[in-house]
Symmetry: C2
Amino acid sequence: MNRMVPSPKPKIGVFDSGVGGLTVLRALIERIPEASYLYFGDTARLPYGSKSASTVAHYAVGAVRYLQDQGAELLVIACNTATALALDEIKAAADVEVVGVVDPGAEAAASASPRRKVVVIGTEATVSSHAYRRALEARGVTVREKACPLFVPLVEEGWVEHPVTEQVARIYLAEAFSEEGGDFDADVLVLGCTHYPLIKPLLRRVAPEHVAIVDSAESTAQAVAGQLQSTRPSSSGESGLGGVSALKFFATDSAEKFRKMGTRFLGLPVEDVLHVDLKE
Amino acid sequence: MNRMVPSPKPKIGVFDSGVGGLTVLRALIERIPEASYLYFGDTARLPYGSKSASTVAHYAVGAVRYLQDQGAELLVIACNTATALALDEIKAAADVEVVGVVDPGAEAAASASPRRKVVVIGTEATVSSHAYRRALEARGVTVREKACPLFVPLVEEGWVEHPVTEQVARIYLAEAFSEEGGDFDADVLVLGCTHYPLIKPLLRRVAPEHVAIVDSAESTAQAVAGQLQSTRPSSSGESGLGGVSALKFFATDSAEKFRKMGTRFLGLPVEDVLHVDLKE
């Protein structure tokens, strides 16, 4: 499905259940600063992790339809749970190209792993879905998935450089990289949750030195840039967070709360936020 | 409203958005072992904290009506958010007596505080509602409320006796009991979240020695026992977790997940779980 009509300034719709996907938006702005962006955070109905696949699909389809109505010419599903549980249904319901967050991360991890052994960390919901496992095994890579349920609340508490977060990371990563009767000698660590880029410097210090860190947010931005390059070769491709992109935000819960929390995740002021009510 | 018809074995309905309210059920079983219990966990729609008051009221009313249909003769709202945002609406919709979790905790705290200064810890949602503040100020007590958003995920991770949890508790309680230009010399700490009884021994070690800990779960069980005593003076009042109570559980998300997590919160086997689908 590629009915996108090229315009001088591509309009990209980004969807997440909350503010986490703003790390993906940030990576997109760095890669494709000439685009304009519409971001939809379904903050009233998060977390998606505890909901059934059909409910998640229903919510996500409603949100991406809304983004299309606002003029989105390409859709990025910046939510691991929605990608894992509902990407096919979203693609079927959308009239424009849809990029999820799992495949680009898996592709980058596979390329970066000479040992063909990868550790994926994420929320309980993402790990239980085994979406990364499937995507990586299809690329001939052995996977260990490790749920790190405390990272999201630690990031939301603002403890991104904090001794407690470092201690928690040491515990989780020790479990992820060790194995009864020997170590799991993976050479890549995939950040399979949109909150984790905020603690990437800390994870870099704590992870074994030889391990490469693959950030799904960055890999997804790269995939989207490639997609645009192939359909609109005039894209300048210049990089930077110069604030030249036009940004518009939609949130289903309080706009004020979104503004406050969002600024930390985006690393840029979150200003133009509209509260949206989607029917169930 | 007191249309409860006394029966030889009172049937008590307990409602929470998830498994946290099982600490209230545990306290109830200890106090009133001769009762039989129906517990409703609205696990598919949690957390309530990020939802509007009208949505929470709508969900809670649906759940307590379900409990009444199952024969509940008295209802306990074992959820701080639902109590804070929707107790009046629940009472209006119910045909039996309703006991919330905030007033009993506030009453116990006021009685235990000669200094008339109390610290309340809870989730972000409970603190923002200021339900404990209102209830305590009405009793002439000065209150400091402190949100402790990491405690719930730490308890759910199972780290109830863990150095990380102890470090987090030291940070939160230091903030709660100190004040610019001097300490806030409270003599009571209220556990205003149903998850916190699981880390009560740890909080006891970390809190200042002279501070009394008031556990809303226990205070609520006490209030319910008093309520029953006044309407059915024949209650034996014998105490213990001897497993004599009849227990039945209803969950809106996976029954298996509820069983697994619930056993830790209740401290008793959670066996008879029925999955329930409530219409929106």
